[in-house]
C-alpha cells in the first residue's frame, strides 16, 4: 500500500471573529474564520444560547452572501424612469443632503406625508425611535404581512406567543404538536428541538396541508384543508371538555376562567377600584381575583353573571364543534380527530411530570412542587396568514391553557422579556404636530374603541389604516397596504415613501404587477402619484429599480447591530440574553449600515432626541447609539456589561461595552434563578428578577385571558354603545369577528369567489435552505433552489391527466400564471403549493437574464390581491384579517388547467437594468493558500 502523506492538522484560520448571523429570524451565533483578513469559513458558535454550534444552510453559505456580486456599491440616484433600474452613483453627502432636502419641508408642514416602513424587524426599537422623532404616525415593520395574528393573539390571551416570546420545553415535552409551520420562526431552534424529541422517543403531530420538512418526520400527519385549523382546534377543545381532560386547578388559579361576566354587557364584574372579581369557593363571597388565600370558583353562581368557564361550556360543548361536524371541512376523519384529542389528554394528564421545586405565587401561596403537562405546541405563519387567523391563533392559545400546559415543565415556556400582558404594552399613538415628535410610540395594543388611531373626523390617522374599525387590533401595522393606500390617496396622499429591506415590487407584495404600476403611475401633470421613494437595501433587489434614492446598506458581516431586550432579543426560557453584530470585515464599497445612515440623517435634520440643545449630535453612528442611548435611566439597548462592566440590566453606559460583548463571543446571558423559571406570570421570584433586570418597573402578575374583554368592547360599540361608533358598513363585521371567546369562520375568500369555480387552495412555503430571505444571489444556495414548480396532489394530478414536464395555467379571481408542475402525493387533496420567493425578475440580483429563477421561477403573489373584490359600495376592503389587519396570503383559491409546455413562466415583467452589472462566470473560492 502506498498511501500518500496528507496533512491532517492544517491551520484552520488566523483568527475567529464571533458575531450574530440574523440573516433570518433565528439570530444564531457564528464563528467567522478569517484568513489574511478575509472570510474563509463560517460555522455555528457552540457557546451561543440560540444555536449551540449548529448552523443552517443559509448561515453556512454566508461567505457567498458577503461576496455576492449583487451587493450595492454606493448611493444611487435614479436617472431613468422608475422601474428601469437606471441610476448614477452619488456620494453619501449628496445622498443624505438630498434626503434632508426632501424630508425637512414635510416635517415642517405635515409629518404624516412621510411613510417609513421597514421590511425586517431588526432594530425595530431604533427605527421606531427615529420615526417618532421625525413625527410621522406612518411607521411599522413587517409583522402585518407576516405573523401579527400569532403575536397579537398570544399577547392578548396570555402575554406572549411562540418564537420570540417563548418556546416549547424541548427537554421535557413528550408530545409536540406543530401547526402550519414550514420553515418560519424559528428555523434552527425547531430543528434542534425536533432532534431532542426524536432522541428521547417523544412524538410529534404535524398539522399542515403539506407533508414536507418537519411534517415529513412527524409521527402523525394531519393534512388539513387550509384555513380550517381553528375549527380543528375548537373540536379538540370540545373533545377535551367532553372528556373532562382540562386542568381545573390551573384554570381556577391562573386564568380568567372563574371571572364573572355580566350577562347584559359581556364585561367583567369589577370592584370600585376596577379590580376583577371572583367568587371564593370556600366562603361563597365576591373577592378580588388576587386576594391572598382566595380560591376562585370556576362554577360560581352570582345573579346576572356567568363565569368564563360556564360561557365556554355553553359554547364548545355544542354539537357544531364535535369532530363529526367538522371532519369534512377540515379534511380529517372524525375518528382521527378524536384519537389526537385522546393522545393529547393521555400525555397531559397520565404522563404529567413533577419537579421538586418550591415556589410562591402572587397570592402569597407557597407550592412545594411544579407540575407539568408535557404537551407542547407551536405554530406561526401557516395558521396566522388567513382572514380568520387571529381567532385561530386565539383558539390554539386557549387549547394550551385549558390543558394547563403554559409556563409549566414540558409545555410552552416564555422567554424574557415575556411574559408581558397586553396591558403592559403601550397603546398606539398617532397625533402629529409639525416639527415635533409623535405623541408616543406608534404601535401598541388597543383596549377599546378609545385607543383607535382615528382623526377627529373619524378618518384613519395612519396611511395603512392600522388601529381603525376595519382592523382594530393591528398591533404591527399593515405594511402590505401602504403602497396601495398611498396610490389611491385613501385615507390621504403622501409625499415620500421610505422603506428598508422590503422587496415591495416583487415577493413582499400581494398583486406584484399592480404594485409595480402604482409605483410608476403618474398624475395629470406627469408627476409620480407617489412623489418620492427612498429605499435602503444591501443588494440589487427588484425594489431598487423603483426608488429615486438608494441608501446602500452593508452585508451582515460588515455592520453593527444589537439584538436587544428592547426589541427581539435572543433569550431562552431560562435566561435573558442579547447579542451584537460587529464589522468582522470592513466594507470594500461605499456603503453604510442603514441604522448609521438614519442617525446621520437625523443629525442633519437635527431631530429631537438625536441632538443636544444647540444641535450637536448625541451619536455619530449606530455603535455609538447602542452603547450610549438610554431608553430610561440606566436601561439601554444592551443589558450586559453596563456601568463598571459588571452591572446587568440596569447601569450607566459603559464605553467598553461592545468590546466586552466581542470578548464574550458577541452575546450576553443572564440566567433566571432556579425556582423562578416556571409559572413566570404568577411566580414572585420571577417577577422580582424581571424588575431587577429592568424588564418591568414593578411586579405585574396577571391572569391569562381565555375571554378577551377588549374585543367585547368593540362588539358593544358595534351594537351602538359608547361615543366612538364604527361606520355602519362595518357594524356587522365587528359584531361577528370580535367575539371575546375564540370562534371559527370561513376565510373571506370563500365568500367572494365561487368555490365551485375555484375549488383549490394555493399556498407557498419557505425553503429551509433559504428561509426568511429572497437571496438567490447566493451562488451555493441557488443550486439547491433555482426554480420552483407548482406541486399538485395526486387527486388533481390524475383528474387533469398531468405528466412529468407538464405546465399549467393557474388562475385566481384576480390573475393567472403559467407554471411548470410536479406531483407531490403528501398533500391535502385540494391544495397546491410552491416555494416562496424563488422567482426573480430578469436583471435583478446580478443574475443573467436567462437565469432559471427568472425563466422557470415564478411568484404566487400575482394571484393574490391586496384588496377583496369590489362589492359595489365604493369601499376598498383589504384582503386582511378584520381584527389585526394581517395579510391573508393563504386564503387564496384557484383553478388549474393543463396547458402546452412553455419556454418561460408567465407573467414576464420585463428586464430591469442592473445597477451592479453581472456576476463573474465561474467561482473557485479559496481564501487561504
Amino acid at each position: 500500500m502506498n498511501q500518500p502523506w496528507i496533512d491532517t492538522s492544517p491551520k484552520v484560520s488566523d483568527e475567529i471573529r464571533k458575531t450574530t448571523c440574523y440573516m433570518c429570524a433565528c439570530r444564531c451565533g457564528i464563528n467567522v474564520h478569517m484568513k489574511e483578513g478575509r472570510v474563509a469559513y463560517i460555522e455555528g458558535n457552540r457557546d451561543h444560547p440560540v444555536n449551540k454550534g449548529v448552523l443552517c444552510a443559509k448561515g453556512s453559505a454566508g461567505i457567498m452572501q458577503v461576496n455576492a456580486p449583487a451587493r450595492l456599491r454606493a448611493p444611487l440616484r435614479r436617472v431613468g424612469p422608475r422601474g428601469s433600474g437606471e441610476f448614477k452613483e452619488i456620494s453619501w453627502d449628496e445622498a443624505l443632503g438630498l434626503a434632508r432636502e426632501w424630508l425637512t419641508p414635510i416635517r415642517k408642514s405635515d409629518p404624516s406625508k412621510l411613510a417609513f416602513f421597514t421590511g425586517r424587524d431588526q432594530s425595530q426599537s431604533f427605527t421606531s425611535f427615529w420615526a417618532q422623532a421625525f413625527g410621522t404616525p406612518n411607521y411599522a415593520a413587517h409583522g402585518g404581512f407576516c405573523s401579527v395574528n400569532m403575536a397579537a393573539a398570544g399577547i392578548y390571551t396570555m402575554g406572549g406567543a411562540f418564537w420570540e416570546f417563548g418556546q416549547p420545553d424541548w427537554d421535557r415535552a413528550k408530545l409536540f404538536m406543530l401547526f402550519g409551520v414550514a420553515e418560519d420562526h424559528d428555523s434552527n431552534p425547531i430543528k434542534m428541538g425536533i432532534g431532542k424529541l426524536k432522541a428521547r422517543g417523544a412524538r410529534i403531530i404535524g398539522v399542515n396541508p403539506i407533508r414536507s420538512g418537519y411534517n415529513a418526520v412527524a409521527d402523525e400527519w394531519l393534512g388539513i384543508t387550509p384555513g380550517t385549523d381553528g375549527l380543528l382546534i375548537l373540536s379538540l377543545v370540545h373533545c377535551l371538555m367532553e372528556a373532562g381532560k382540562i386542568d381545573l386547578d390551573y384554570l381556577a388559579r391562573y386564568t380568567d376562567a372563574p371571572l364573572l361576566v355580566d350577562d347584559e354587557t359581556g364585561l367583567f364584574l369589577r370592584d370600585d377600584g376596577g379590580k376583577t372579581l371572583v367568587v371564593d369557593r370556600a366562603t361563597g363571597h365576591l373577592r378580588p381575583f388576587d386576594e391572598k388565600g382566595v380560591r376562585p370558583d370556576l362554577n360560581a353562581s352570582h345573579p346576572g353573571h356567568r363565569t368564563v368557564m360556564q360561557l365556554m361550556a355553553e359554547r364548545y360543548l355544542k354539537p357544531e364543534y364535535a369532530p363529526e361536524a367538522v371532519a369534512d371541512r377540515c379534511g380529517i376523519a372524525a375518528p382521527r380527530i378524536r384519537a389526537v384529542a385522546a393522545e393529547i389528554a393521555r400525555v397531559a394528564f397520565d404522563e404529567a411530570i413533577t419537579l421538586d421545586q418550591a415556589w410562591t405565587d402572587f397570592r402569597g401561596e407557597r407550592h412545594e412542587k411544579m407540575t407539568g403537562r408535557p404537551v407542547a405546541f407551536h405554530a406561526m405563519r401557516g395558521i396566522s396568514a388567513h382572514s380568520n387567523g387571529f381567532q385561530t391563533c386565539r383558539a390554539l392559545h386557549v387549547l394550551q391553557i385549558l390543558l394547563g400546559a403554559v409556563e409549566v415543565p414540558g409545555g410552552f415556556r416564555f422567554k424574557p422579556p415575556y411574559p408581558k400582558p397586553a396591558t403592559a404594552h403601550p397603546r398606539p399613538h398617532c397625533n402629529t404636530t409639525p416639527e415635533m415628535p409623535l405623541d408616543g410610540p406608534h404601535l401598541g395594543f388597543v383596549h377599546g374603541p378609545e385607543d383607535l388611531a382615528l382623526k377627529a373626523d373619524g378618518s384613519p390617522a395612519r396611511i395603512d389604516k392600522a388601529f381603525t374599525w376595519e382592523n382594530p387590533m393591528s398591533a404591527h401595522g399593515l405594511m402590505h397596504m401602504v403602497i396601495s393606500n398611498a396610490h389611491a390617496g385613501d385615507p390621504y396622499r403622501i409625499d415620500t415613501l421610505f422603506m428598508y429591506m422590503a422587496n415591495m415590487s416583487w415577493n413582499s407584495s400581494m398583486n406584484t404587477g399592480g404594485v409595480m404600476k402604482m409605483l410608476t403611475d403618474t398624475d395629470e401633470n406627469g408627476d409620480y402619484v407617489i412623489p418620492r421613494i427612498i429605499y435602503s437595501d444591501a443588494y440589487s433587489s427588484e425594489m431598487v429599480a423603483y426608488a429615486d434614492l438608494i441608501l446602500p446598506d452593508t452585508t451582515y458581516l460588515e455592520r453593527h447591530d444589537c439584538i436587544s431586550l428592547l426589541d427581539r432579543p435572543i433569550c431562552e426560557a431560562d435566561a435573558a440574553a442579547d447579542a451584537i453584530r460587529w464589522p468582522v470585515v470592513e466594507p470594500d464599497r461605499d456603503v453604510r449600515g442603514f441604522q448609521t445612515a438614519l442617525i446621520q440623517l437625523a443629525n442633519l435634520m437635527e431631530l429631537p432626541g438625536f441632538v443636544h440643545e444647540g444641535g450637536s449630535p448625541k451619536w455619530q453612528d449606530y455603535a455609538d447609539y447602542i452603547v450610549n442611548h438610554e431608553r430610561k435611566p440606566g436601561v439601554g439597548p444592551l443589558a450586559g456589561f453596563r456601568g463598571d462592566g459588571e452591572q446587568v440590566g440596569r447601569g450607566t453606559p459603559n464605553p467598553d461595552q461592545l468590546k466586552r460583548y466581542i470578548d464574550n463571543g458577541g452575546f450576553f446571558v443572564s440566567h433566571i434563578p432556579e425556582g423562578a423559571d416556571f409559572y413566570k406570570p404568577w411566580n414572585m421570584a420571577y417577577q422580582d428578577w424581571a424588575v431587577g433586570m429592568g424588564l418591568y418597573n414593578a411586579p405585574q402578575p396577571y391572569l391569562f385571558n381565555l375571554y378577551v374583554e377588549p374585543m367585547r368592547k368593540f362588539q358593544r360599540a358595534a351594537e351602538g354603545h359608547g361615543d366612538r361608533q364604527p361606520p355602519d358598513h362595518l357594524r356587522d363585521q365587528i359584531r361577528k369577528v370580535m367575539d371575546p371567546l375564540p370562534i371559527w369562520y370561513a376565510p373571506f375568500e370563500d365568500d367572494h369567489v365561487d368555490p365551485e369555480e375555484y375549488p383549490i387552495h394555493a399556498l407557498t412555503q419557505r425553503p429551509m435552505a433559504m428561509y426568511h430571505s429572497w437571496g438567490s444571489q447566493n451562488a451555493w444556495l441557488r443550486q439547491i433552489h433555482g426554480q420552483n414548480p407548482m406541486y399538485l396532489p395526486r387527486e388533481i394530478w390524475e383528474a387533469h391527466g398531468f405528466a412529468d414536464g407538464d405546465w399549467a395555467r393557474v388562475s385566481s379571481i384576480h390573475g393567472a400564471i403559467s407554471v411548470p408542475v410536479a406531483l407531490h402525493a403528501g398533500l391535502n387533496g385540494s391544495t397546491i403549493w410552491t416555494w416562496n420567493a424563488i422567482g426573480k425578475r430578469k436583471g435583478a440580483w446580478a443574475l443573467d437574464k436567462d437565469a432559471p429563477e427568472a425563466t422557470k421561477g415564478f411568484l404566487l403573489n400575482h394571484l393574490i390581491h391586496e384588496l377583496q373584490p369590489p362589492r359595489g359600495d365604493g369601499m376598498r376592503w383589504s384582503n386582511s384579517d378584520p381584527i389585526t389587519g394581517q395579510a391573508a396570503w393563504f386564503d387564496l383559491r384557484v383553478k388549474i388547467e393543463k396547458m402546452p409546455a412553455q419556454h418561460e413562466t408567465d407573467p414576464d415583467m420585463g428586464v430591469m437594468a442592473s445597477p451592479v452589472g453581472r456576476g463573474p462566470r465561474n467561482l473557485r473560492w479559496k481564501v487561504g493558500k
Binding site: 498511501q3 448552523l55 418526520v217 371538555m241 433555482g786 403528501g826 446580478a846 443573467d848
Partner: protein
C-alpha cells in the same frame, strides 16, 4: 487497478437518521464551505450566476416520496447522500493510477488529487453516484469524512468531527467507528435497525442509515371515554361534572 487494504484498523463513518433528517441542506452547505477552503482544490461553481449553475458538492440531500400500496398517507424521506466509504470500494479498485485509495488506519476513501487524471472511471464504478468531477480542476472530488478535521490538533477536541455532523441542526448525523461494536454509532445502528444502502451491490458500505419510524398510527381506536354521561354531553352535563370534580380538589 488499485488495491484495497486487507483490513482497516478502524471503520470510520457516518450514521444518518432518516427518522430525524428534515431535509434542510445544512450539511450540504457546511460541507461545501469546509471543503472549498480545505482539502485539495476548491469545489468550483461553473456559471455561478447564470442560466445553468453547476457546482461540485460532496454531499447532497435527495427527497423521495413513498406512497403506501393500498392507500394511506404518502410519506417523504429526506435522504442525505455522500461517499459511504465502502469496505469493498469499487471506486478504488477501478482507479488506473492509484489516486483513489482507502486508508488502512481508518478506512476513509480518498482521492490523491496529484495522481488523479480525471478519467472518471471511479464515478462510473460507484453504484451510489457519490463522486463528482470538478469541472474547473478536472479532478475527482468526494467526501473525505473531513480527514483534515477529525484529527486536526488546531481544533478543539469536540470539533474534531466532519463539518456536516457539527452543523446538523436536528442532530440527524452521527460520526464514529463502525468497526467497534461498543461505539455510540454501532449501538445506534443496533438499537434502531440501521441498514446498508443497496447491500446487493456487495460494496459493504461503512456508513449506515437509520430507518424512519412507523407513522400515522393514531387512527381512532384509542379515543378517550367521555367524562360526561351520554345524555348530558352539553353545558349542563359539563357543569354538573365540574361541580362534582371541584368538590374533590
Amino acid at each position: 487497478m488499485t488495491a484495497l487494504p486487507e483490513r482497516t484498523e478502524r471503520k470510520l463513518g457516518l450514521v444518518i437518521d432518516l427518522d430525524t433528517c428534515v431535509g434542510c441542506h445544512a450539511c450540504v452547505i457546511s460541507c461545501k464551505g469546509w471543503n472549498t477552503e480545505n482539502y485539495g482544490a476548491p469545489l468550483s461553481d461553473m456559471d455561478a450566476y447564470g442560466a445553468d449553475p453547476v457546482g461540485t458538492f460532496l454531499n447532497r440531500v435527495h427527497s423521495y416520496e413513498i406512497e403506501p400500496e393500498g392507500g394511506g398517507c404518502a410519506q417523504t424521506v429526506h435522504f442525505p447522500k455522500s461517499c459511504l466509504h465502502c469496505e469493498d470500494a469499487p471506486c478504488v479498485t477501478v482507479c488506473p493510477t492509484g489516486a483513489s485509495y482507502k486508508r488502512a488506519e481508518d478506512g476513509i476513501v480518498l482521492v490523491n488529487e496529484d495522481a488523479c487524471i480525471g478519467c472518471g472511471l471511479c464515478a462510473w464504478a460507484c453504484p451510489y453516484g457519490a463522486r463528482e468531477m470538478d469541472r474547473a480542476e478536472g479532478v475527482m472530488k468526494k467526501c473525505t469524512l473531513c480527514v483534515d478535521r477529525i484529527y486536526n490538533e488546531n481544533l478543539e477536541e469536540v470539533d474534531r468531527v466532519p463539518a456536516c455532523v457539527r452543523t446538523c441542526p436536528a442532530g440527524a448525523r452521527h460520526f464514529g467507528d463502525l468497526g467497534d461494536p461498543d461505539s455510540t454509532v454501532s449501538q445506534l445502528v443496533a438499537e434502531r435497525g440501521g441498514f446498508d444502502l443497496m447491500p446487493e451491490q456487495g460494496t459493504k458500505p461503512v456508513n449506515k442509515y437509520l430507518p424512519p419510524r412507523p407513522k400515522d398510527r393514531l387512527t381512532g381506536a384509542a379515543a378517550t371515554a367521555p367524562a360526561l354521561p351520554t345524555k348530558r354531553r352539553d353545558a349542563t352535563g359539563f357543569l354538573a361534572w365540574l361541580d362534582r370534580t371541584l368538590e374533590k380538589i
